[in-house]
Subunit: 138 residues, 2 copies
């Protein structure tokens, strides 16, 4: 008899997953926290973090790290890269061909076994670029 890992289906977990999906553009834990609080006002931040961890482990969402000090969460679990706006901080998807890990390994990069490659792009989003342009010309 297999030992079943009991994972309870709590309201908090459901609302947290829903929030990541609905907020869309790569929310941070705090942004998810305030969205969840609108539905379940007594939810604690640690509950948000714990469930985000579980959802990442279950492959239902992805954690986007390396874009700064905060972790962003992504409902799109397919392989893709991200770009972060230097001005407003939001993170968007980017479609450039991903670097192939097997290729890196066959090239013996520093003799390391390569496990993950992640491209972090920093830029200025269209809205902020326009805003900056407006400020400059006035």
């Amino acid at each position: 008899m297999l030992e079943v890992e009991l994972r309870r289906n709590t309201r908090q977990k459901r609302v947290i997953l829903q929030s990541v999906e609905q907020l869309g553009c790569h929310p941070t834990a705090i942004q998810i926290f305030s969205a969840v609080r609108k539905v379940l006002p007594r939810t604690s931040l640690s509950t948000v973090y714990r469930n985000l961890g579980i959802l990442v482990d279950q492959g239902k969402i992805k954690a986007v790290k390396g874009t700064g000090t905060e972790i962003h969460y992504d409902h799109n679990t397919g392989e893709h890269n991200h770009i972060k706006c230097k001005v407003c901080g939001r993170v968007c998807d980017v479609n450039i061909e991903p670097v192939d890990i097997d290729t890196l390994n066959s090239e013996a990069v520093s003799n390391f076994v390569v496990l993950e490659v992640c491209m972090n792009i920093l830029g200025i989003c269209p809205e902020c670029a326009e805003q900056l342009e407006r400020e400059k010309t006035q």
Copy 2:
């Protein structure tokens, strides 16, 4: 008459730059701090951080971010990427052709103005790989 920005040449600043150069393999602030303390035992951590910031601003060293929660510092200011060992945490240089920012801009990546691209690679260094192999076969 130009207003000259007075930057004093302190012992701390000299030893901090020296330490980054001599430690070589991408030390963190704490590692630099303990190296500096061997020469100037009363140096404080905030002095290390402040001077590292100044040295980065002056282009004398580079800050390597995005490899985890810590910032690593690099005396090699030329363009290159980094790989981090998942086991021991050390960061090494990597020579894969860097992504060209102008190309990304001409491709209008998400309509962003692209400023910086940084490839973060995670893997296992030769030493740790060997160690793991030894543990497995015993």
